[in-house]
Subunit: 261 residues, 2 copies
């Protein structure tokens, strides 16, 4: 199956039927993908404010009305509780399980947040002649916890999570300009070159996702990542929170080009 060429509605259907349960990098080229966080209403203001104060990590694409599982702006006919390949449930800040749908956990006071994902700009990187290693190697993107403290908002705080792509030295500027034009899916990189400068000890040992090859003459380039809310949930310890599993995203009906302004 060439998921890259399929429509978002088709892929979401396969995900809903649990025929796709893996990571979504490279699927539905040109369409925005999104991170998920679901919280009870009592925590929703603090989290929305956390997103406002950390816009490069948490560019909010859509927030559901209280209790609603349907999306209004980012996709038609989608169900936020079934249309993601893998979910994570956190109780009191502790990951307690991974599930292919969260129907049985849904509550009337839940609010979902969809947050831009850097998978969205990978089609544009490829079009710009910038290679994307984890797509070449058919892996999930490597993600790392950094030592960069997010701006606190209410109960939410924690370290920033980043994704890494090794970029040939002569393509780094192109990688910056292509992604800078897409701020709603994390935009320009947060750091170029030195993993240690942002608290990453070993580039071959990601905290989330897979390790990828970094060739001679390639520079590790780091972008803000929508797994950051999971870091904030682990610190804030809300009674319950549900997220996507890193790399297992919600695929929207919205073309990346429509998110450019």
């Amino acid at each position: 199956m060439n998921y890259s060429e399929m429509s978002p509605a088709e892929v979401r259907q396969l995900i809903r039927e649990e025929k796709i349960t893996g990571q979504t990098s490279g699927m539905c080229a040109g369409y925005a993908q999104a991170n998920l966080l679901i919280l009870p209403r009592e925590y929703a203001y603090d989290f929305l404010l956390f997103a406002q104060r950390n816009p490069k990590s948490c560019p909010v694409l859509e927030v559901g009305d209280v209790g609603s599982r349907a999306t209004k702006f980012m996709a038609e006919g989608a169900d936020i509780a079934t249309d993601i390949p893998k979910y994570r449930v956190y109780e009191n800040g502790v990951l307690t399980g991974e599930y292919t749908n969260i129907d049985k956990f849904w509550r009337d006071d839940f609010v979902y947040f969809l947050i831009g994902c850097s998978f969205s700009f990978e089609a544009e990187l490829l079009e710009g002649g910038v290679p994307v290693r984890h797509i070449e190697e058919n892996k999930n993107v490597p993600m790392f916890l950094t030592n960069i403290e997010c701006e606190r908002a209410g109960i939410f705080h924690g370290k920033m999570v980043v994704s890494m792509r090794p970029i040939p030295r002569d393509k780094v500027i192109k990688a910056v300009t292509v992604t800078a034009s897409m701020p709603r899916v994390h935009g320009s990189p947060i750091h170029i070159g030195d993993p240690a400068a942002i608290g990453i000890k070993d580039i071959s040992k990601p905290d989330f996702g897979d390790s990828v090859t970094v060739n001679e003459g390639e520079v590790p380039v780091f972008w803000c990542c929508g797994v950051t809310p999971q870091s904030a949930v682990m610190s804030a310890k809300p009674s319950i929170a549900i997220s996507h599993a890193p790399g297992h995203m919600f695929i929207t009906d919205v073309r990346n080009t429509l998110l450019k302004d």
Copy 2:
């Protein structure tokens, strides 16, 4: 006094001392100016969500912690309750008074929102060779209620408010490109050319601010405006809300160029 060349801290001090009580267009060239909305905490989530769903009208620059009058990100040493030239108090959606400071109204459950203002990009328009009529005529910018419905969020809904600048036909494209690069202060225009198309009956009779001259060969260009929250407050009727008076803005310490990404 040439307020255009003064620092934001100096101008805010004059405002605090009530030596400046008029509109702030053209002051502190190159620094971002901001709209204000203050609400009790019980309404804060609905409003922050309204801003997220109407980002061109309500680009949020900073949200205060509950009860805090100090700004942390946009200015140093500022007091949100005294450093704006003129405030408006709304009770149950009705404008009940204008004040030069709101010290006596402040409550421990108040949350302030600072929202980008199109005055911010006027210095850039002038540098780009685009004339700004209300600055030439030493007036407030003309603002209009449109027939464009905002996206609802909780109790907040209402019509979009826009600012209008008459632009010579051969400068319209420059006006678009200059402002498009500054999305956090409303960005590109929402409409060019036909006031009736967005529900404006008489271009010489603004709903807020002053009327300005529109010369032969000039096109009215409309930008989203941070007075939109006041339209939403009039519709939503929260028990109390406090805003700036249209055109009487909070002047930040942050240069416009820093808001470009």
